[in-house]
């Protein structure tokens, strides 16, 4: 089966056979059509596909989902870069199986938002993304959410139907924002006030805090770069300054940038920093970079000020037990 428009399908499966039934023909059709095929699935499913494809498995690219689905914004950026590299002359087909186990409620919400944003990010691309959901391990509410984030559901080999509950990404985006805790961080001993021309001091203090919190050197660089962009935005649009609050919980270092400016930049952006800006565009790179370099971001930008909260995962195992 070949189509030319952008396709984004959810695929529910409850067994190895169902997984293969839903994915194998998708791969074969893609190879027959000369598409670039990328399979980002769990290790077990890589083995299944490799065995079923035999020597043709060398024609598709496999990535372990655990290595790919680390941070929602970065994953979207990686898909975008992959499609920019491979999708110029051919269609790209992706089997993308996000990792849902072991996620906190906040993380799961952001991954659902990510699934929904794919519909916006690739709408003009003509690529085909198939997202398997393992009903044996993925929480039921997440499986249900796939009908809202995917316009279609794949039903076995070469068959599909409208998902029936597809939500406009803008609506889902707003809904996720509303579901979030809005309590800002309280004042703390590591707060750093910043103002125009003073971001170097904030960068210095932030790097020292990151080191004290055990962040690796390269990740500290990312933190400094991401937070700096939020500071620059606060200075530019948020009334010339604000406060940077730093916290650590067992899993994340949290950086919150608060200002009280009017943020009357020309037009409100629909998905701030969520979609890759053109390399040559004048603005929009700061927010994009901020999301690409951090693990999770929660932001509120309004007429009386803005709050941007960035999460950077601390090294080591997560403290919470992986959910079943």
């Amino acid at each position: 089966m070949t189509r030319t428009e952008f396709v984004h399908q959810g695929l529910r499966y409850g067994s190895d056979d169902e997984f293969l039934e839903g994915t194998l023909e998708f791969v074969h059709d893609g190879l027959a059509a000369g598409d670039a095929v990328l399979a980002v699935v769990r290790r077990h499913n890589i083995a299944l596909l490799e065995e079923a494809l035999g020597r043709r498995s060398g024609d598709i690219e496999f990535v372990d989902a655990d290595d790919w689905y680390l941070r929602p914004s970065r994953t979207l950026g990686q898909y975008h870069a992959y499609c920019a590299d491979h999708g110029q002359e051919s269609r790209v087909r992706v089997i993308g199986e996000p990792v849902w186990t072991g996620r906190t409620e906040f993380e799961a919400r952001e991954w659902m938002r990510y699934e929904s944003l794919l519909n916006v990010a690739f709408v003009h691309s003509g690529h085909w993304i198939l997202c398997p959901y393992d009903t044996r391990t993925v929480p039921a509410d997440v499986v249900r959410s796939a009908t809202r984030t995917h316009p279609e559901l794949a039903l076995g080999a070469r068959m599909s139907a409208p998902s029936g509950h597809y939500a406009d990404p803008a609506d889902l985006y707003a809904e996720r924002d509303a579901a979030r805790s809005r309590a800002p961080l309280s004042d703390g001993p590591d707060d750093i006030r910043f103002a125009r021309g003073r971001s170097a001091a904030a960068r210095r203090a932030l790097a020292a805090y990151a080191r004290r919190s055990g962040m690796p050197e390269q990740r500290t660089y990312d933190m400094v770069a991401a937070v700096h962009e939020a500071l620059v935005n606060a200075v530019r649009f948020g009334g010339g300054g604000g406060v940077l609050r730093l916290r650590s919980d067992p899993d994340y270092v949290i950086c919150e940038i608060v200002d009280h400016g009017a943020h009357n930049s020309a037009v409100p952006v629909r998905f701030p920093g969520q979609l890759p800006p053109d390399a040559r565009s004048v603005s929009g790179h700061g927010l994009w970079v901020l999301r690409q370099l951090s693990d999770l971001v929660a932001e509120e930008i309004g007429p009386t000020g803005s709050t941007v909260r960035m999460y950077f995962r601390r090294p080591g195992e997560f403290t919470r037990p992986p959910a079943g």
Binding site: A84, G197, A200, R203, Q218, A225, E229, R280, H285
Partner: protein, 297 residues
């Protein structure tokens, strides 16, 4: 490994200084020397150039015209002078005496002092190198006692570091071109072999305009160096931080160079800066070339 002595910017020189310039290209020599002589004109000091060959004064100083200096006029007024005293190796014998005499004459002519630049081209093992050594040794008391400051130029395409190292001890240090920019975060210096700029420190919203200005001027020089295939090179090995706005400027400049058939080369880009360029797609912009620095030892 050779220990490189500390560099002093030519604009920071003062009477009594006797510095060594080891240069790799004529552009480097002329850049340092132009500032040295023009600072002298501004400071009421006569500029004297002891050339290693017998060439007309106007020709020997023609490089100053690019800096807006009316060379003919300055020579006619005695503010600039050229003397082929070092055209033969014998000129080295009484070099200290010549400079002593010229310094006194400059003062007698109403100047506040003398700036002297000298270049020795004679080369050869043993005897002539020893002669050079001896004459440099004799110069020191002259600089110590008279209102004179000087630069001894050594072409590094002729003298290697092993030959220059012993001469370091006979000077008060080495001289380099002035910094293009310095603030508490960033310093920008010119490089000459290969030509370009070296940026050290951090670039953010406070100093990005200084980078833009330096890059603009460097691109104009690159255009003057070669008509086609303009290559502007930035050495970023010591750049610890650069923000998105500044990277956007580099991309803008690269695209402009590309449109003119040129390239912006970024040398020694740190891994964390490369990550930012990757996520923005700026590592794939035409006209922008990212070169790895050499591996750390």
């Amino acid at each position: 490994m050779t220990v490189v002595p500390p560099l002093r910017a030519v604009g920071q020189m003062r009477p009594g200084d006797h510095l060594l310039l080891g240069y790799d290209t004529d552009e480097q020599r002329e850049t340092v020397l132009a500032v040295f002589l023009l600072d002298g004109l501004a400071s009421g000091q006569r500029g004297l150039v002891l050339t290693p060959g017998d060439i007309p004064a106007v020709l020997a100083l023609s490089f100053l015209e690019a800096y807006g200096c009316p060379v003919d006029e300055e020579i006619a007024a005695g503010r600039l002078a050229v003397d082929p005293h070092l055209a033969t190796p014998e000129g080295l014998w009484d070099l200290d005496e010549v400079i002593r005499r010229e310094a006194r004459r400059a003062v007698a002519d109403g100047f506040l002092g003398l700036r002297v630049s000298m270049e020795v081209l004679c080369r050869g093992a043993g005897e002539s190198l020893k002669m050079l050594h001896d004459s440099e040794l004799l110069l020191d008391p002259v600089f110590a006692s008279l209102p004179v400051l000087g630069i001894c130029q050594y072409d590094r395409r002729v003298f290697d570091e092993e030959e220059l190292a012993p001469l370091d001890g006979l000077h008060h240090g080495r001289v380099a071109a002035d910094l293009v920019w310095q603030d508490e975060l960033l310093s920008i210096t010119r490089t000459f072999a290969p030509p370009g700029l070296a940026l050290a420190g951090e670039i953010d919203d406070t100093n990005v305009t200084a980078v833009a200005r330096a890059l603009y001027a460097e691109t104009a020089r690159a255009r003057a160096r070669t008509a086609n295939g303009i290559r502007t090179r930035l050495d970023l090995r010591d750049l610890r931080f650069v923000d998105v706005g500044a990277l956007r400027l580099l991309v803008f400049s690269a695209l402009g160079l590309y449109a003119a058939g040129g390239t912006l080369v970024l040398y020694g880009v740190a891994p964390h800066v490369q990550r930012v360029m990757r996520v923005t797609g700026w590592d794939r912009v035409p006209g922008l070339r990212i070169e790895q620095g050499e591996d750390p030892p």
